[in-house]
C-alpha cells in the first residue's frame, strides 16, 4: 500500500512536471524566449536605429513584447492536460482545483517568464536604455510579471474547451493586462527620466497581489466548468 502524497508534495510535483514539459522538445519555454528575442530586435528596423528614439521606447517595447510572449505561451497552459484527460485526474487530487491552477501558474512563471526577465537587460542594452534604469527594468518585471501569468491563467482557463481559442484568449486577457503595462513601463520611465519609480513599483505590486487573490479562484471556477 502506498502512502498518500501530502498536498505540498503534489504541488511540487505539478510545478516540476510543468517546468520540465515547458523546456522539453517543442515546449513553450524555448519558443516564448525566441519570440521575445526576435520581436524586440524588429523594433530598430521598424522605427529606425536612432539611439535617442530607441532609448525613449526601450522600456515600453520590452514590456509589450514580454507581455505578448507570455500571451503566446498561455494557450497551452491548461489545454494539453484538458485534452489528454490528466486535468480530470489532477482535479480529484487532495490539492483541489484551486491549488492545481496555482501550481500550474507558478510553473508557467518559472519556466516561461523568468527566462525573459533574465535576458531583458541584454535586450535593453541593444535598445540603448539609459544606464540608471536597468535595475528598475528588472525589478518592475519581477514585481509585475506574476500578474501576467495569473491574469493570463483566467483567460486560458475560460477558453480551455474552445478549439483554437488563442485569439479569443488574447481578446479576454489583453484588456486585463493594461494596468500592469502602465505601471511597469511607468516605473522604468520614471527611473530613466530622473523621477521616482517607487510609487509605480508599489502600484505594480498591488496589481500583482490583487491578481494573486482573484486569479487562482477564477481560473479554477472556469476549469470546473470545462470539466463538467
Amino acid at each position: 500500500m502506498t502512502k498518500p502524497l501530502s498536498t505540498a508534495a503534489i504541488f511540487k510535483g505539478v510545478v516540476a512536471r510543468d517546468i520540465r514539459l515547458a523546456w522539453s522538445q517543442g515546449g513553450t519555454g524555448t519558443m516564448a524566449l525566441s519570440f521575445f528575442l526576435i520581436a524586440v530586435t524588429l523594433f530598430p528596423f521598424g522605427v529606425g536605429p536612432e539611439t535617442e528614439i530607441l532609448a525613449r521606447i526601450a522600456a515600453g517595447v520590452i514590456w509589450v513584447v514580454a507581455l505578448l510572449a507570455c500571451l503566446l505561451s498561455l494557450d497551452r497552459l491548461f489545454q494539453a492536460d484538458y485534452e489528454d484527460g490528466s486535468l480530470d485526474d489532477l482535479a480529484l487530487s487532495p490539492l483541489g482545483l484551486v491549488g492545481i491552477a496555482f501550481a500550474k501558474i507558478t510553473a508557467h512563471w518559472c519556466a516561461t517568464i523568468l527566462p525573459l526577465i533574465v535576458v531583458a537587460p541584454l535586450l535593453a542594452l541593444l535598445l540603448n536604455l539609459p544606464s540608471g534604469a536597468y535595475q528598475f527594468l528588472v525589478l518592475s518585471l519581477l514585481i509585475g510579471s506574476p500578474a501576467l501569468s495569473l491574469l493570463g491563467a483566467i483567460g486560458a482557463a475560460l477558453t480551455v474547451s474552445v478549439r483554437r481559442g488563442g485569439v479569443l484568449m488574447s481578446l479576454l486577457v489583453l484588456p486585463l493586462y493594461i494596468p500592469t503595462l502602465i505601471f511597469g513601463v511607468g516605473a522604468v520611465d520614471a527611473a530613466s527620466m530622473m523621477g521616482n519609480p517607487l510609487p509605480h513599483l508599489a502600484l505594480l505590486g498591488a496589481v500583482s497581489l490583487l491578481s494573486l487573490l482573484i486569479a487562482p479562484f477564477a481560473a479554477a471556477g472556469a476549469l470546473r466548468l470545462a470539466l463538467e
Binding site: 483566467i154 475560460l158 477558453t159 474547451s161 474552445v162 481559442g165 479569443l168 481578446l171 479576454l172 489583453l174 484588456p175 486585463l176 493594461i178 494596468p179 490583487l210 482573484i214 477564477a218 471556477g221 472556469a222 466548468l225 470545462a226 463538467e228
Partner: protein
C-alpha cells in the same frame, strides 16, 4: 427569487411592464431633449457645444451602469444558478457595448472643439476603452461555445473579474490629474452646475436607463422565444423520425 425563473411567467410580466416603460421612455426623451436643445442656456465658455454633454454624459453613465447590471446578473447566475440571470447578461451586453462606443465617439467629437484633440491617452478615456474591450470579450466568449449554459457561466466569470475596472473609471479623473474634467454632478458638496443644465442632464440620464430597460426586456423575450422555437423544432423533427 426563482418565482420568475419560469420563462412563461417572465414573458407575461414583461408584457405587462413593457407598454408602461415604453411610454415613460418616450416622455423622458421628449422632455429631456426639449430642455437640452431649446430650454437651457449655452455655456459662457463652451457656447452651444455644451449641448454635446446631454448626449455624452448619460451614455457614459449607461455604459458603467450596464456593466454593473451584467456583473450583478453574472453573480446571481453563478451563485444561485438563476436561468434568467444568464439571459439578462447576454441581452444587456451589446447594448452596453453600444453605449460605451457612443460615449467614446461623442466624447471625441466634443473633445475636438474643446480640447483641440479627438483623443488623448488620459485615465478616463483609457479606462473606458478598456471597458469597451471587456464588453467585446464578454460577447465573444458567449459566441465561442456551443453549450449556452457553459458559455454563459464562463462569460460571467470574465464579467466579474472585469468589475475591477469600474472603480478605476470612476476615480480615474481624481487619480490621474489629466485632461478629462473631474466629476461635476455626483460630488460630496452637491453638483457644480446650474439647475437649468442639471435638469435636462438628469432627465436624459433617466431616459437612457429606461431605454435600456425596454431593449433588455425585448432582447430577453426574443432569446426565450428563440429557445422555445428550437425546442419545438426538435420535438417536431423527432416526431417525424
Amino acid at each position: 427569487m426563482h418565482k420568475f425563473a419560469n420563462p412563461a411567467k417572465f414573458n407575461r410580466l414583461a408584457d405587462i411592464i413593457l407598454p408602461w416603460i415604453i411610454g415613460l421612455t418616450v416622455l423622458a426623451f421628449a422632455s429631456g431633449l426639449y430642455y437640452a436643445l431649446w430650454d437651457s442656456p449655452a455655456d459662457y465658455q463652451q457656447g452651444e457645444s455644451v449641448r454635446m454633454m446631454y448626449v455624452h454624459v448619460p451614455a457614459a453613465w449607461s455604459s458603467m451602469f450596464i456593466y454593473l447590471f451584467i456583473a450583478v446578473a453574472s453573480f446571481v447566475a453563478l451563485i444561485w444558478r438563476h436561468p434568467l440571470a444568464l439571459l439578462a447578461g447576454k441581452a444587456a451586453a451589446p447594448i452596453g457595448a453600444t453605449f460605451t462606443a457612443l460615449a467614446l465617439i461623442t466624447g471625441s467629437l466634443w473633445g475636438k472643439p474643446m480640447w483641440g484633440t479627438y483623443w488623448q491617452w488620459d485615465g478616463r478615456m483609457t479606462s473606458v476603452l478598456v471597458m469597451f474591450f471587456l464588453y467585446l470579450g464578454y460577447i465573444a466568449l458567449w459566441e465561442a461555445m456551443e453549450d449556452d449554459e457553459k458559455a454563459g457561466r464562463a462569460a460571467s466569470i470574465l464579467a466579474l473579474v472585469g468589475v475591477v475596472n469600474l472603480p478605476i473609471i470612476k476615480f480615474s479623473v481624481e487619480w490621474w490629474n489629466t485632461l478629462h474634467q473631474s466629476a461635476s454632478v455626483m460630488r460630496m458638496d452637491g453638483p457644480a452646475m446650474p439647475t437649468e443644465m442639471l435638469k435636462p442632464l438628469l432627465i436624459l440620464g433617466i431616459a437612457y436607463q429606461l431605454y435600456f430597460a425596454v431593449v433588455v426586456l425585448w432582447r430577453m423575450k426574443l432569446e426565450i422565444n428563440q429557445r422555445k422555437i428550437d425546442v419545438m423544432r426538435r420535438i417536431a423533427m423527432s416526431d417525424e423520425g
